[in-house]
């Protein structure tokens, strides 16, 4: 409507009007054009919340601690609980950041059961965060079983690194 009206004005002031309008646009007075969020390549539920600056996501991600587990276990050892308490503080300060809890296992297990174990590890982390006041609706789970080791080695050090829940900060 606005543009249609301007186009009908036959006046020597027309260039001036255009200039004024451009200034207004630059100042943010013009109607806002709302763009849909770009589809997120990860978990489909991950882009329901509003946009979060990429730098902020990176900052949150850099501070989140990885939660480690004992062999064959999905219960949270004291160190894992401490990591989650630390993570909960970060998440409380960034309520608009969503989280994907990725559950992983080491290679010393069978692939399909490891999917279940990875899912349960992720769920253990979500439940503990919920007990600390983090809305579980902010967190989705993905189990990767033993498919994506953090350390490709075949020794105790590698296995300990691979039995983990990685909290991925997403929009």
């Amino acid at each position: 409507m606005v543009f249609g009206r301007i186009s009908r004005i036959k006046s020597p002031f027309y260039p001036l009007l255009c200039l004024i309008l451009l200034c207004a646009l630059a100042a943010g007075c013009a109607p806002k054009i709302v763009k849909p969020n770009p589809p997120h390549p990860g978990f489909p539920g991950a882009y329901r919340a509003g946009p979060v600056a990429e730098q902020e996501l990176q900052a949150v991600q850099a501070n989140l601690k990885v939660i480690y587990f004992d062999y064959d276990q999905y219960t949270l050892v004291p160190e894992a609980q401490a990591s989650l308490q630390y993570n909960a503080q970060i998440l409380q300060q960034t309520p608009h950041v969503r989280i994907v809890a990725e559950g992983h296992c080491d290679e010393r297990g069978t692939a399909e059961y490891n999917l279940a174990l990875g899912e349960r590890r992720a769920r253990s982390a979500v439940n503990f965060l919920a007990s600390l006041g983090i809305d579980p609706q902010r967190i989705s789970t993905v189990s990767y079983g033993s498919e994506l080791p953090a350390d490709p080695g075949h020794n105790e050090t590698a296995w300990a690194q691979n039995r983990r829940v990685y909290l991925r900060a997403v929009q």
Binding site: P44, D72, E112, L115, L117, E119, R123, V126, E147
Partner: protein, 440 residues
Amino acid sequence: MILSHKINGNLAHHGRSMVLFFLLFFAVSVAAAPNPAFAKLVIDVSDPSLVRMPIAVGDFMSDQPGVINGAELARILKNDLHLTGLFQLVEIDPALPYAANGSPDFQKTSEMGIQALVSGQVHVQGDQLVLEARLYDVALQKQELGKRFTATNRQARQIVHRLGDRILDQLTGIPGCFSTRIAFAGAANPRELFSMDFDGHDLRQLTNNGSINLSPRWSPDGRSLLFTSYMRGQPETWWLETVTGKQALISGRPGLNASARYSPDGREIALSLNNKGIPKIFIISPQGDILKRLTDGRGNDISPSWSPDRSAIAYVSDQAGTPQIYLIPVNGGQPRRLTFESNYTTDPDWSPRGDLLTFTARIEGRFHICTIRTDGTDMRVLTREGSNQAPAWSPDGRMITFASTRDGQSRIWVMDARGTVQVPVSPIPGKAPAWGPEVR
């Protein structure tokens, strides 16, 4: 299209030979003998009760040796027979010793201890390949089977497998499964799905989505597969028609949608889905609608396997603290724990005959392929090297395919149901094999 008919119409169906009785007796004894010695964990790969039948396969004779390699074709059959674990392949002179009348020299082969003998002739008619093959009982000096197979030149391997199927049928009463294919997940990234002949030939890539694809399982008609894929970022159950490449999402609920298997009649799917955040066994329709939740409790439940009569499902649950195999009636009832011998038993696969399950057990820190009867007795450990997992029966119940790292990388292996013969077959690294049905 493979045409086949008997070229020897007067093959006696009465008065089955000593050869036949021999194999039938031992085939039955393999399947049925509950040996108290195996009540506990015993690595048993040399049960003396099975004596393998000495069999010889002569190089197939070809009237155009440059075009068709008769020795190569005979090798396909020898490998088939070897992999069943039922035969001792006896090497004989490349050209069979023939008597003056054109029939095999039974005297000579008998002196070598050979009990069964296969001969074959191949010739080319245009683009058609014709294989004429005979199976002889050496002791009785009698032809047991005569078959003529016609196919295109490109199907040479297939018609030799068909011959093997018929030889097994003749000698044991149950056809072989040499004409079947195995699907598996590649072990390298991206983890696409592949299929191959059961002996590792004719490798075909089935998916190309650049993601992680796991746990393929065939539909009963062998035309499609269910599998778990991360192509949308989380583990979801997908359907794939192998010939057309057509795909459809079957279950994409939040959390796990994994280890889906068709029921034997193809009308239902059992799989693991989250129930309040805990993976449980559900039954859904082939379209993906939930029909019922089968398991309850606090355990993580996964890897369902249907009994061949569809009445029960074996699955893995860690409700007792470690993953163990349980059986549960499909139409209501309590689960019964099947395995107690190891603190880690997973990957159950119910045998097509219904009497056994094969599964993975952790024994002294290593994973091994085992079998157990459905009443929980007679557990046998079939592997003893490397790390082995994900066993699946052949459709005739005589062989098991599994993934093993004993050569360094994870590859697909096949073995007979007693573990006497174990051979790697996949030409590329792979895991999670699924043995397809016989497709006629």
